[in-house]
């Protein structure tokens, strides 16, 4: 009952495992950090009583809570975006970072920072506080579209072309980012270092307010794409036969990925490999159906990123490692391992 024919865990037990893991990581992330907080203080704050340490409530409610929530959302969105892209391109190596979506989103955000006072002044005036996430969304969606156009030849996605296009897109976006850095003032450079490394160290409720609506929208829209993407697995012609409109499905997936990755990049900078590692593991454990892959990727992605972030902020205390760096350390070797094992190209 619990395991299916392939020896995989069933949906309900898996859900329990995933939720427990998320809960454990949440607890670790809330209770650990450079600042020592006793369990009694933490309990006092949670139950609304006076803590013996006066900054306890601030550390918990204004620093660790928003950081945990933002980390979980970003991880979930990146993992789901990875799963959507992999479904769309029918290839396990499609990752928002690898095919250049993250780079496109961050390029747009950096352009807003550097050119906000000059060429893009109108953009700032128009969008106000949302200037960065919306720009990142447009940059992200634009890049998915570009990658799609390049890799798609008469209805078939050429995977090698897609990945090579990703290299080219990353190179061009990197060069454009470098050019903007070259012209950036000292003041602007400060905000730029954050985009290129990826960090949750500054996370506060305001970041959540700005980023969460976009990310939640992407997460809520994703399940709607599960069945059509399952059809995609059988080939693009099947999609039509099953009553879905191919173009609509593609556009919706591109929009959702752009929305999610754009918002994630806007609040946390460049964090790679979540979208690659997580869906891959989920498919290995639970099978390839998107109705399973999407929700579990969201849970596992959030859990993984929060776990990595919890580690990143205690290994070199009192300083912090950038989370982008941590994920690259974990994800790079993982990517190589998938390549060697599956030889998909």
């Amino acid at each position: 009952m619990v395991r299916d024919a392939a020896g995989r865990l069933g949906f309900a037990p898996s859900l329990v495992v995933a939720l427990s893991a998320a809960a454990v990581v949440a607890l670790v992330s809330i209770t650990s950090g450079a600042y020592p907080l006793g369990l009694t203080d933490i309990l006092s704050v949670i139950t609304g009583r006076e803590a013996s340490d006066p900054v306890a409530s601030m550390v918990l409610l204004e620093v660790r809570m928003p950081r945990f929530l933002l980390g979980f959302l970003v991880g979930a969105v990146l993992a789901v975006s990875g799963a959507l892209l992999q479904g769309l391109f029918r290839n396990p190596l499609a990752d928002p970072g690898l095919i250049g979506v993250s780079a496109g989103a961050s390029l747009a955000a950096i352009a807003v920072i550097v050119l906000g006072n000059t060429w893009l002044g109108g953009w700032l005036a128009m969008t106000g506080e949302w200037a960065l996430p919306i720009a990142a969304f447009l940059g992200g969606s634009g890049t998915v579209l570009l990658a799609w156009r390049i890799a798609n030849r008469s209805g078939q996605t050429a995977v090698a072309t897609l990945l090579l296009a990703g290299i080219a897109i990353n190179a061009v976006a990197g060069a454009a980012t470098g050019l903007l850095t070259f012209y950036a003032t000292d003041e602007e450079l400060r905000s730029l270092t954050f985009w290129t490394m990826g960090s949750l160290g500054h996370a506060d409720w305001n970041d959540l307010l700005v980023g969460a609506p976009f990310m939640l929208l992407a997460l809520l829209a994703a399940p709607w794409l599960a069945r059509p993407l399952d059809a995609f697995l059988l080939g693009e012609s099947v999609v039509g036969h099953l009553g879905y409109r191919t173009d609509t499905v593609k556009r919706a997936a591109i929009l959702v990925v752009g929305l999610g990755v754009g918002a994630a990049v806007a609040v946390s900078g460049l964090i790679g490999f979540v979208g690659l590692v997580v869906p891959h593991l989920v498919r290995q454990l639970l099978g390839a159906s998107h109705r399973v892959v999407l929700p579990f990727s969201a849970l596992a992605g959030g859990t993984l990123l929060v776990a990595a972030d919890s580690l990143a902020r205690v290994v070199v205390t009192p300083a912090e490692l950038p989370i982008g760096l941590m994920m690259a350390l974990i994800g790079g070797p993982f990517f190589l391992a998938i390549l060697l094992r599956t030889k998909v190209i």
């Binding site: 600042y35 601030m58 400060r190 160290g201 902020r313 009192p318 912090e320």
Partner: protein, 284 residues
């Protein structure tokens, strides 16, 4: 029994704060020049942490490092339980500084110093924050007289030699210092002119521009000692200024920090500037 009391008294005497006015201040500094001021004031015992730009004097290595001035962690700093964080206007991210202030840490952002006067004002500010105005005034007066001595010497030279200022940051990363930089400000303070006045900020070196610049002197700021290897920069080596010994290779933090080593930096630069006759000859 009596001997035990004696031991307790001895322990109490050892662990009592010397000031007697309660616990000594716990201070974190995030800016190399500010850290240097604290050490020059002899107040390093108050320091419980510094940032990664604080590498001088050597003893800073023994203190916990809170990371880079422009990416200060909130919890990391708070965990050191500081009463006071002294940093510069370059400190970031703003969110974390705000939250530290709200957690009860006195956060003081001092203006970056780009003139000898501002450097002395910063010494006074640091002294005032640490409750040692007099010591700071003494140090400022001492630095002032050294600065005056160098500036008199530079005025006596009666010329404005041009100087090529190079920043050697990584193995192959060499940047030219343009206008609006601390490097340019240092040259100003000894009456020299930046040979790269056409560019803004620090820009990657254009090797041909170096040849064209024909400076009267060359100053190279290293971020770690021995980093700049003249062998890989033939165009610098070929410059008359280099050949004639009008060159200085020195620690970047000393040259550009505008901290208590500013007089040393000014004197070192002034030392390698050529006398007027040479400047005239070079210019013709």
């Amino acid at each position: 029994m009596r001997s035990r009391i004696f031991v307790w008294l001895l322990l109490a005497a050892v662990f009592m704060p010397s000031s007697g006015a309660g616990e000594p201040l716990r201070v974190v500094t995030a800016d190399g020049a500010i850290t240097e001021v604290v050490y020059r004031l002899g107040l390093e015992s108050l320091l419980v942490g510094v940032d990664t730009t604080s590498g001088y004097p050597q003893q800073t290595e023994l203190l916990p490092k809170i990371g880079y001035l422009r990416a200060l962690p909130f919890e990391g700093v708070l965990a050191l339980k500081p009463d006071l964080l002294i940093t510069s206007e370059h400190a970031a991210p703003e969110e974390n500084l705000d939250r530290l202030a709200r957690a009860g840490v006195q956060v003081e952002k001092l203006h970056a110093a780009r003139t000898p006067d501002a450097a002395l004002r910063r010494v006074m500010s640091v002294g005032a924050l640490l409750g040692e105005e007099e010591r700071a005034a003494d140090l400022a007066a001492e630095l002032r007289s050294e600065i005056n001595r160098v500036q008199r010497a530079s005025l006596a030279r009666g010329s404005q030699p041009t100087v090529l200022f190079i920043l050697a940051a990584g193995n192959h990363s060499v940047m030219l210092a343009g206008e609006g930089t601390a490097a340019s400000a240092l040259l100003d303070s000894v009456g020299a002119v930046n040979a790269m006045s056409g560019i803004q900020g620090y820009k990657p070196a254009n090797r041909e521009a170096i040849l064209v610049s024909r400076p009267d002197a060359i100053v190279i700021a290293e971020s770690t000692p021995g980093q700049f290897e003249i062998g890989s920069w033939p165009e610098v080596e070929r410059l008359d200024a280099w050949q004639n010994g009008h060159r200085l290779v020195a620690d970047g933090m000393m040259l550009l920090g505008f901290g208590p080593r500013l007089p040393d930096a000014m004197a070192a630069v002034n030392e390698v500037l050529p006398a007027p006759s040479k400047v005239a000859a070079n210019g013709s």
